[in-house]
């Protein structure tokens, strides 16, 4: 039997690489995290760092070719998704693990009334009869705050506003009461007042269903307001993993610090913003050592020699940076002797 104290989802050493005519892109290059029921994990990082590839890998939805999971395991309630058959996967997708996207039309069929689409998922996964499925579908639409749900259920996606489509997608994702919800930039395309509504809605439904949520975003504000813990990604790696409060009050990795410093503050005047000079390395040509080294102010010779590992500190925060290892002190002493 699956033990409920254990994480519902555990990702270990996940590597997803893409082989294209330009070479091999190490989009996801050794990712570890776990998620418990009722918990929200944030995955943040800049464009192209591998957030979406990570989340698509969990449901084995990476476009293939060019993508392939080349290493690692993804344990859902103890079973390894990487080794499952397509049949087994279909039973999990949209049922036990659901996903919502930035663009709702990626998961909605444009020519089928939205109520139908939700009912269909319920018939398939929950084995409900036609009438019950329809009734439940309308319940879900009501739950996500769609006005006059009976009427809206009969409309096709294009007859709804962007905010409403986003809600329909959430209703569909949650109809089968999943244990894990993966939300990839669920509110990025929406206006802030609508974003506030949707985030509140996800929180409320999470409390009701008790699911674990993976919230993928580039918006640190969204992370601060919705997540229990955060993984910061940079060039295919997690560089810092910490409880949300700690990440914001005591960031450790130079990249995390730089990221937080470069944010314009809404409650404070700043004359000049701190910046991180330079650019992210290409996933096709990653350096041998620390991937942040070319932009890092603390860079030492050791940083260029070898990629640091993600190491747990005494306060439980995990960091991938040579400064937080024993070698760093040794290294500094050696430099002094020389």
């Amino acid at each position: 039997m699956y033990d409920s104290d254990k994480p519902v989802l555990e990702v270990k050493g996940l590597k997803t690489h893409l082989t294209t005519k330009n070479g091999v892109s190490k989009a996801v290059d050794g990712i570890d995290f776990s998620l418990h029921k009722g918990e929200t994990l944030g995955i943040v990082g800049e464009s192209g760092c591998g957030k979406s590839m990570t989340s698509l890998s969990i449901l084995r939805l990476i476009p293939s070719p060019p993508g392939k999971i080349v290493d690692g395991s993804i344990l859902f309630k103890g079973k390894n998704i990487v080794e499952m058959s397509e049949d087994q996967l279909r039973k999990i997708r949209g049922n036990e693990i659901s996903m919502i996207f930035q663009e709702p039309m990626t998961s909605l069929n444009p020519v089928i009334p939205v109520g139908e689409q939700i009912a269909e998922a319920l018939r398939l996964h929950q084995k409900l009869g036609k009438k019950d499925a329809w009734q439940n579908s309308i319940e879900m639409l009501k739950l996500v705050g769609i006005p006059s749900p009976e009427k809206r259920a009969k409309q096709e996606p294009f007859q709804l506003s962007g905010g409403m489509r986003q809600r329909v997608m959430i209703a569909m994702a949650l109809a089968c009461r999943p244990e894990v919800l993966i939300a990839d930039e669920p509110t990025t395309a929406l206006d802030v007042t609508i974003q506030a509504q949707i985030l509140e809605l996800i929180k409320k439904l999470q409390a009701k269903i008790g699911m674990g949520v993976i919230m993928i975003t580039h918006d640190l504000g969204v992370v601060a307001e919705t997540c229990d813990k955060v993984a910061v990604m940079y060039a295919g790696n997690i560089v810092e993993h910490a409880p949300t409060e700690q990440l914001f009050s005591d960031p450790k990795h130079p990249y995390t610090k730089g990221l937080l410093n470069s944010l314009p503050r809404i409650y404070e005047d700043q004359d000049e913003l701190a910046t991180i000079e330079g650019n992210v390395p290409s996933p096709y040509h990653l350096p041998e050592g620390c991937r942040f080294a070319s932009r890092c102010a603390h860079r030492e010779a050791i940083c260029d020699r070898k990629l640091p590992e993600l190491i747990e500190q005494s306060d439980g925060v995990k960091v991938r940076c040579w400064m937080y290892t024993d070698q760093w002190a040794l290294h500094e002493e050696k430099e002094e002797v020389l």
Partner: protein, 325 residues
């Protein structure tokens, strides 16, 4: 700065931009999207005025109408004593040297087949500001202003990152010695660490050349950082306009309040009283009667549903259009 002593560089009066909407019936009356519906404001020399609001509120349309990228339906735009909207093609082209624009997606606005050198040269040629012999010198100068290395000249846009491309866009705008730059979501597509670089650059250039910015953005944290004054729009109307400090210290319009409280703040310890609005943004084709915000306003009164509020000064230089205040 005292409002009385500031010099007005651009004045917009009763600007309207109605776009016709196609109907599929001959007999249906023609519909219009009232994208900008009677908007007036002044722009002072050397300041940054931001326009904020949600998608479809008319921010970009206002910017485009000022530049006549789309011909506005009616209104006036005065710049150095002349109504821009009445200028002929030749005079308008001359004016383009003073008024420049930087867009959100620099890639879409840069010709992929031109090198940086060609792009910048073309901009200078149109305005005939620099004699041919001095152009190379000027090109290198422009690159140094925006922090690009000289060897960028022979490269093509696709060889640059998003942030670098935005620098090319800025260099192109600077090429003609403008006085006013309209920045339409100029940093919205950039990652935060790169966004910070570009915001710093814009501020530096403003000080260096005494530029005036009309900064259009949906991101209130960015707006707070860059602006002197802020104008909030909702469904084609100005709902509030004030000095930045005044607006962020105390906003009066319920929409501005909701907008400010909706921004996710990167500080998990902060406990805010959040105003969460109900409902969606209505269609600008058939905007609500009376106050356009009344369908989502938490304080709506009977009067709001029929009577349109006027923009009134509630504090020095702080204007609001709401029946509550």
């Amino acid at each position: 700065m005292q409002a009385q002593t500031r010099k007005v560089i651009l004045q917009v009066d009763h600007l309207k931009q109605y776009f016709p909407v196609k109907t599929n019936s001959l007999f249906k009356p023609k519909n219009y999207v009232k994208a900008v519906d009677d908007v007036s404001f002044k722009l002072y020399e050397g300041e940054t005025l931001s326009i904020v609001g949600e998608s479809g509120c008319g921010k970009s349309t206002t910017g485009r109408a000022i530049l006549r990228l789309d011909e506005p339906t009616s209104g006036k735009v005065h710049y150095s004593g002349k109504n821009i909207l009445e200028l002929n093609k030749r005079d308008m082209r001359k004016l383009r040297g003073d008024l420049q624009v930087i867009f959100q997606d620099p890639f879409a606005s840069l010709n992929p087949r031109q090198t940086v050198k060609q792009i910048l040269n073309e901009a200078m040629a149109i305005q005939e500001v620099v004699p041919k012999k001095e152009r190379l010198e000027r090109l290198l100068e422009l690159l140094s202003y925006v922090g690009l290395p000289p060897e960028s000249l022979s490269r093509y846009p696709h060889e640059f990152s998003g942030g670098q491309r935005q620098r090319i866009g800025i260099a192109r705008a600077l090429a003609v010695d403008p006085r006013l730059i309209i920045c339409d979501e100029a940093v919205s597509a950039l990652d935060v660490s790169i966004q910070a670089q570009i915001l710093n650059l814009l501020k530096k250039l403003q000080r260096q050349f005494g530029l005036t910015f009309l900064f259009i953005s949906h991101d209130l944290s960015v707006v707070r950082h860059i602006s002197d004054r802020v104008m909030v729009m909702y469904l084609g109307k100005v709902v509030e306009i004030a000095e930045k400090k005044s607006l962020f210290d105390q906003s009066f319009h319920p929409y501005t309040q909701a907008l400010l409280s909706s921004i996710p703040v990167p500080n998990p310890k902060l406990n805010r009283d959040r105003v969460i609005l109900k409902g969606d943004i209505p269609s600008p084709i058939d905007p609500p009667k009376g106050c356009r915000f009344h369908t989502r306003c938490p304080f709506v009164m009977d009067r709001c549903k029929t009577e349109e509020p006027e923009l009134r000064e509630v504090k020095a230089n702080h204007f609001v259009s709401c029946h509550l205040v």
